[in-house]
Symmetry: C2
Subunit: 393 residues, 2 copies
């Protein structure tokens, strides 16, 4: 895999336990267009406050990421640590410090171990020619059990380009961003204003449609850098090239999003929740999110119990318009409920068989309109409780 003009590095800075990569750098040899989306949580970590400002002009040389410490709720010290980290790396690279973004993920409320980060920076620069994006995917993991990466190639104006992305996140995952970091890089040349528009809307349709536990983190960051080194003519909105590029971005984001749900803390199930027939798309999304975040629904998934009543109850309190005498409900293709009433017959035994699968879908048809939404979620298991009861210890 070669994404022209990008270099990657991942090293051990001893922020996490020994033997684990925890400091990474994505670097573009030339200034790249950058589009970024950040958490909507009103409590934002220092690296986000800094990166939000630096991403405003949509040009960047790269991003420095650490795992193991979120640098959140760390006050002025946290901000000065974020600034220093970027400055030290920028100085070593010989670029302007404002051209580097920063991202952090891990425990909240503890100061960054700056001495260790300072000591690791020469190594971080030295690894730039040896590490790959796959190493970055490793370095940004926290409770993740596997690294998450996706790649696509395309063609524009006779030139081949590559788009690749990595992501981390397995708990505190909820629409409007999660404890989730995702970095996409491409050597395609893309019109900056369209890239910003595209990335924001595609994140809405992917990362903002996954939920593990309904918690929105202080550190969520997703960004794409496009450095144009593929040599293609700039891709503009509304062209056939734009459609192809957009589809690749969408597929990468959706794939990364699904990988995150599959790696949901303690997850034993991967469930697609489709709500259709709603009065509006936003009503459909409210209902789908409500189902996906219900602890009663999620524990029933874990117990492989076809407890459709809890699903209808979750729709009922979602805020979406619903007529309880119209709603249909399916597990995969098995109709469990027709017009609000249990379908009876073989539905119970067939529905129970669906719940035994690792992957299945829940469809609710509200039969009120044409609004629809799809959300991906996991179940809630003993293991989720264990992981999160003991996270800091």
């Amino acid at each position: 895999m070669d994404i022209k003009g990008f270099k990657f590095s991942a090293v051990e800075a001893a922020i996490k336990k020994p033997g684990r990569l925890d400091l990474a750098l994505i670097y573009s040899e030339v200034p790249a267009t950058v589009a970024a989306v950040f958490t909507r949580n009103k409590v934002k970590a220092a690296p986000l406050l800094l990166s939000i400002e630096r991403a405003l002009n949509h040009v960047s040389r790269g991003v420095v990421v650490n795992s193991g410490n979120a640098n959140a709720c760390t006050g002025r010290q946290g901000m000065s640590d974020a600034i220093e980290t970027a400055r030290l790396v920028a100085d070593a690279l010989g670029v302007h410090e404002d051209s580097l973004l920063v991202a952090s993920t891990g425990v909240i409320g503890q100061p960054l171990p700056m001495e260790r980060i300072r000591n690791a920076i020469p190594d971080l620069i030295g690894e730039l020619s040896r590490s790959t994006l796959a190493d970055v995917a490793q370095a940004i993991m926290t409770t993740d059990t596997f690294p998450k990466m996706e790649i696509r190639t395309g063609e524009a104006g006779g030139r081949l380009y590559t788009i690749a992305g990595v992501a981390k996140g397995s708990g505190m995952i909820m629409p409007n961003m999660a404890t989730m970091l995702s970095f996409l890089v491409t050597d395609a040349a893309v019109d900056p204003s369209w890239l910003v528009e595209l990335f924001s809307s595609e994140v809405d349709r992917s990362f903002n449609c996954i939920t593990v536990d309904g918690d929105t983190s202080t550190n969520d960051t997703a960004l794409i850098m496009a450095n144009g080194m593929a040599g293609n003519p700039e891709i503009f909105k509304g062209t056939p090239e734009a459609a192809i590029f957009a589809e690749s971005v969408r597929n990468i984001l959706l794939s990364l999003g699904k990988q995150i749900v599959r790696d949901g803390e303690g997850a034993t199930k991967f469930v697609e929740i489709l709500v259709k027939g709603a009065l509006s798309d936003s009503d459909a999304k409210k209902a789908a999110i409500s189902i996906a975040n219900s602890t009663l629904v999620k524990t029933a998934f874990f117990g492989q119990d076809a407890n459709w009543g809890r699903i209808l109850a979750a729709v009922g309190y979602s805020g979406a318009e619903v007529d309880q005498d119209l709603a249909d409900l399916y597990f995969d293709d098995v109709a469990m409920v027709k017009n609000g009433v249990f379908a009876g017959g073989e539905a119970e035994s067939l529905g129970s068989k669906v719940l035994l699968k690792k992957d299945f879908s829940v469809t609710v048809d509200l039969q009120l309109g044409t609004g629809s939404a799809t959300v991906f979620t996991s179940d809630l298991s003993y293991e989720y409780v264990k992981i999160n009861a003991d996270y800091r210890t």
Copy 2:
């Protein structure tokens, strides 16, 4: 305990497993004033749809309750079963069928076992002189591990009166009512319009301030019946007698609410969440509810981990106004965070000691205004997952 003019009955109708009371009757020998609050879930069980209509004129002779089956998502059959249950009991009592309310709790989506209910009604009537309100408290339990009851006495115009209440609920508990039933009875004479106003506002301050898992059920019902048999002059709003009566109702509701949280499915902790210094009371309640419902916060409570970062993150995504550089956070009296930053020093070890307690409080001071709210919640344990994964099997 004697509440003049009220009789109680609780029998086994074999709706639940053998040996458990599951059908109950609260009966007033004279027409009583009734005030009731029902779930705000848009999916409502048949007994609620019926009782909402029958409670409109604020006069009732009693309520028939079954546990083990919610009679929810049961369509027309469910409504006709609810009507028949009330009619059979009304006929046996010799009262008008419209004067009886009905309530159900248990599994959603299965038809009421009407044959068993019909067979049990003679017994239900026969027990009226032998059962007590404590038996009713037993009969309405589902996953509850103990019956919930509270009682107060008062005086008005030289006459002693009694107020007593029972409740059930231990999962699917969330503000705006829970899978929760609660019935209060008093022999005091109370102005009907004030009773309606009082009960609604006191439920808001008690049952709507508790949460176990954030799920709002299809069946929640809380009501109070006042039959005036104590012989006191009617209690009117704004009088000293009204203040005393209101305080008793408040204390009963709050006590029942706290009992429900203590009996939260799998709960090992009882946590009082106080948010103050908010821009408004409603902002404070948003923030408190968000903390109380966060699975990450609740698993940290279970793990006895003083993970205050998750609490601030939950405030951040609650929708309440927050300035992250102003918020203070306490575990009991231990300041963990001052102006958004970890207090350091002994805070970690002192805070961790607080978390070892079975009962403790979390206080967040947003330092923005004078809004405040208190919410009661439990932790999220392995046992919660176990109970809810296996509920129907």
